[in-house]
Chain length 414, copies 2
C-alpha cells in the first residue's frame, strides 16, 4: 500500500484526492500496490468539519510527518511554508510530488539535491504546462536529442486575454476583467500579466531541456499589459496574432531566454493555441519539431499530471539523478537571428523618426493609410539583423530627439 499525504486541499488538492481515490486499486493487479489517502494538511481545520475526509484532516504538519506516509503531495502553492514542508518531507525519506512552479523555479536544484541524497524522488510535471506531459517527454523520451530550442505558451491567463483581444477586439482592461470574472485571472494578476509566471516555468523547462541551470531571474520578461488594439491591428495586417511567447534557445555556448509578446502567423501551430490552452514546441536535433498542447492549469488537468508522477513513484520509475546536477548557464537576452519587428515610436518629430528608421534598416515599411499610426506615433515593420541593431537605432534617436514612447514586438516567421 502506498500512503499519500496531501498538503493543501484547495482546487488542485481536491482534484488530486479525487483521482487518488478513484484510482486506488489501479496498480493492485500488476504490482500489489494500492493507493491510500493518509493525511490532508489544511490551514483552517474548521472549514472541513463536514468533509468525508475529516478524520484525515489536520492543520499540523508534524502530524503528517508522524503518520504512515510514502508520498507527500504538495498543492499549497507559494514558496513559504511549502519549501520547509517539502524539505522536511524529503529529509524524512518521503517522496514529494508538487505542482509548485514558484518553489521549483526558486529552490528546485537544492530540493532535488536533498531528494537525491535521501534516495527519494521529487517530481514536478504539473509545474509546467499543467496536464501536458512535457517535462517527462523532454527528460525521458527525447533524451537522445540535443534540444535546440523551446517556444512555448506557458500562461493560460495571458493567452486567454490575448485571445479575447484578438478575436473580439477587446481592450486589454476589459479582457483582463473577463478573465477575472471567469476565474482565469487572479485579483492581483501581476505575476501572470507581467510574464513572471511564464518566466518561472520557462526556467524549469529550459533547465531540463538544455541541462544547464537557467535562473528565472535572469530571463528578460516583458508582459502583455502594454499591448493595445493597434498592435493587433498591425499583426492582423500581416496574417499574424500576438502571443506571450516563452522562448529559449541554445546559442553557441550561451542560452537565450525571454518572455515577451511576439507576433506569430495566425495559421501556425502556436497561432492556433487559443484561450486558456498552453503549448510547448520543442526542436530537437534528431526528432525535429515536436509540439505538445493542452490545458495549462485548472483542477483536473493539474491533478492528472500529479497523478502521473505518483504512478511513476509507485511503480519505481526513477528519474535519472544526474539530470539536474547542472552548471549555471551563460544567459543572453538579445535575439541574435535576423527577424522582422514591429516598432512603434512616439516623439515630437515623426519626420525625424521615419528618416532614421529608413536609414537604419534596409528593409523598412512605415505603416500608413488604413493601418497607419496616428498622432505623434510612427509605426513600422523593419527587418533587423539582430535585436541589438534596433536598440542601437533607438539609442541614436534618443540622442537627437525627445522620445515619448517606444515599443518593439518581434515577428516569429518560422
Amino acid at each position: 500500500m502506498a500512503n499519500i499525504a496531501m498538503l493543501g486541499y484547495g482546487t488542485v488538492g481536491s482534484g488530486v484526492v479525487e483521482l487518488v481515490c478513484s484510482n486506488k486499486d489501479k496498480f493492485v493487479k500488476g504490482m500489489n500496490v494500492g493507493l491510500k489517502l493518509s493525511k490532508i494538511l489544511v490551514r483552517d481545520i474548521e472549514k472541513y468539519s463536514g468533509s468525508k475526509y475529516r478524520a484525515k484532516i489536520t492543520d499540523n504538519f508534524d502530524e503528517v510527518m508522524k503518520a504512515d506516509v510514502d508520498i507527500v503531495v504538495e498543492a499549497m502553492g507559494g514558496v513559504y511554508p511549502s519549501y520547509d514542508y517539502v524539505k522536511r518531507a524529503l529529509e524524512s525519506k518521503k517522496h514529494v510530488v508538487t505542482a509548485n512552479k514558484d518553489l521549483i523555479a526558486e529552490h528546485g536544484a537544492k530540493l532535488l539535491d536533498i531528494a537525491n541524497s535521501n534516495g527519494v524522488e521529487l517530481r514536478f510535471e504539473a509545474s509546467v504546462g499543467g496536464g501536458i506531459p512535457i517535462l517527462k517527454s523532454i527528460s525521458d523520451c527525447l533524451v537522445g536529442n540535443n534540444i535546440r530550442s523551446v517556444k512555448a505558451i506557458l500562461n493560460g491567463t495571458t493567452n486567454f486575454i490575448l485571445s479575447k483581444m484578438n478575436d473580439e477586439g477587446m481592450q486589454y482592461e476589459d479582457a483582463l476583467k473577463a478573465a477575472q470574472e471567469l476565474g482565469f485571472a487572479e485579483a492581483d494578476p501581476s505575476s501572470d500579466v507581467l510574464g513572471l509566471d511564464a518566466a518561472r516555468k520557462l526556467s524549469i523547462l529550459s533547465t531540463m531541456a538544455f541541462q544547464k541551470k537557467v535562473d528565472w531571474k535572469e530571463i528578460n520578461a516583458i508582459g502583455i499589459n502594454d499591448i493595445d488594439s493597434d498592435d493587433f491591428r498591425y499583426a492582423k495586417g500581416r496574417g499574424c496574432s500576438i502571443k506571450l511567447l516563452a522562448i529559449s534557445k541554445m546559442a553557441d555556448e550561451s542560452i537565450y531566454a525571454s518572455v515577451a509578446p511576439v507576433m506569430v502567423r495566425a495559421d501556425s501551430q502556436l497561432g492556433g493555441i487559443h484561450n486558456e490552452y498552453n503549448a510547448v514546441l520543442v526542436e530537437g536535433d534528431a526528432v525535429g519539431d515536436v509540439m505538445f498542447s493542452g490545458k495549462g492549469a485548472g483542477m483536473m488537468p493539474t491533478a492528472s499530471a500529479m497523478f502521473g508522477d505518483i504512478a511513476d513513484i509507485i511503480q519505481n520509475r526513477k528519474e535519472n539523478p544526474m539530470m539536474f546536477d547542472y552548471e549555471p548557464a551563460d544567459m543572453q537576452n538579445l535575439w541574435e537571428k535576423e527577424s522582422r519587428w514591429l516598432l512603434r515610436v512616439r516623439s515630437g518629430s515623426r519626420i525625424e523618426v521615419m528618416k532614421k528608421l529608413g536609414d537604419a534598416f534596409s528593409n523598412c515599411s512605415i505603416l500608413a493609410g488604413e493601418f497607419g499610426a496616428e498622432g505623434d506615433e510612427v509605426a513600422a515593420f523593419v527587418k533587423a539583423k539582430d535585436e541589438s541593431q534596433i536598440d542601437r537605432c533607438m539609442d541614436d534617436l534618443k540622442g537627437s530627439i525627445e522620445l515619448k514612447g517606444f515599443k518593439k514586438i518581434m515577428v516569429l516567421e518560422d
Copy 2:
C-alpha cells in the same frame, strides 16, 4: 555497460546506431552505465565491407544471440522473420525495442506476454507517431485518466498527399507521384493509401488508451484513393480540409474505431497538421484535450523514439506489466453521434435522389451553383442522427433506382 544489438541497418537502423554512438557516455555519470554497440544483423553482409562497423556486422542471427547483448533493437520491419527474432531474443531474456507496427499490431499481446514472463521489456514507442512521445504519455503520464477518445493523423504519406491536393489543387495521382519522388511513399503505396498502416497504429494506440484489445483487422479502414478535387472543393466551401483520420472512442461498453477521410475545420488543431507530420489528440476525463504532433516517420525521428525506449530500459524504468493484459474489445464500426456528412450520389435520376435526401434528412443542403455537382451526380451536406441513418437511406435508394456510385465523408465539427 549496456550492449546493444541492431537487427536491420537500413534508414532507421543507421539512425539508431548514430544516436547510440553519440550518446554512449550519457548515463555514465549518474548510473555507471555506458552504451556499447555489440552486433549489427544485416541481410547482405557484402554491402557493408567498407563500413566502420564491419567487425560487428553479421548476417547470422545466432551470432547475435551468442554475443554479449542486453538490448536487441529491431529495425527490419515486416512481420517475418522479425517475429521469430524478437521472440527468441525475449526468451533469451534480452530486452527488445522495436519500431515495427506491423509486428506489434499483429503479435503485440503475445510478445508482451513472453517479455513479461521472462522479466524483460518489450518497448515500441516508435511504432506509433514516429518521434512523438505518445504511447508513454498515455500509459504513464495520463494513467489517472479514463481516455474518452483518440483522434489522430497517423500516416505521413497520406497526410502529405492530402496536403498537396488541398494546398496546390493537385489530383490524387499527381500528389501520390510527388510523394513517391520525395521518398514519402513507397513504390507499392497500398498499405498507406488504403488506411491499413493507420489502422495498425490505431489498434496499438487504442489498446493502450482503452485497456481493451483492439484488433486492427476489426477496424473499418477507408483509404484516400477515392478522394478527388471535388471533395476538396466542397470541403473548402465549409472552411474545412480533408484528413485521413484515425478515430477511436469509448461508446458505453464497446469501442468505435475507424480510419477514413474526414473533413476537419481548416483552423482546427488537426486541420493545422500539414505534409508528413502526424498528430494525436487525446481526450481524457481529467486532463481534457491534449494534443501531440511531430514527424511521424523518417530516420532520426524514429531513432529518437527508439533511443528513448533504450534509455528507459537502461535506467530500469519498467512499464506496468498489467497494462497489456487485456480482454478483446467489443468493436463497433458505425459513428453514433449526430454529425454532418457530405454525400455524393451518382445515379440515373438526380431528381429522385434529391427528393429522397430531402425526405430522409431534416437538414439537407443540396450543393448547387459554383459548388454544385455535375453530370449524373448529386452532392449534399446532410445532418444525420448517426451513420446508420445514412446507410439506411442509401439502401432505400438502391431499392428504387439504380445507383452508379456513392461516397460519404463525415464532417468533424468539434
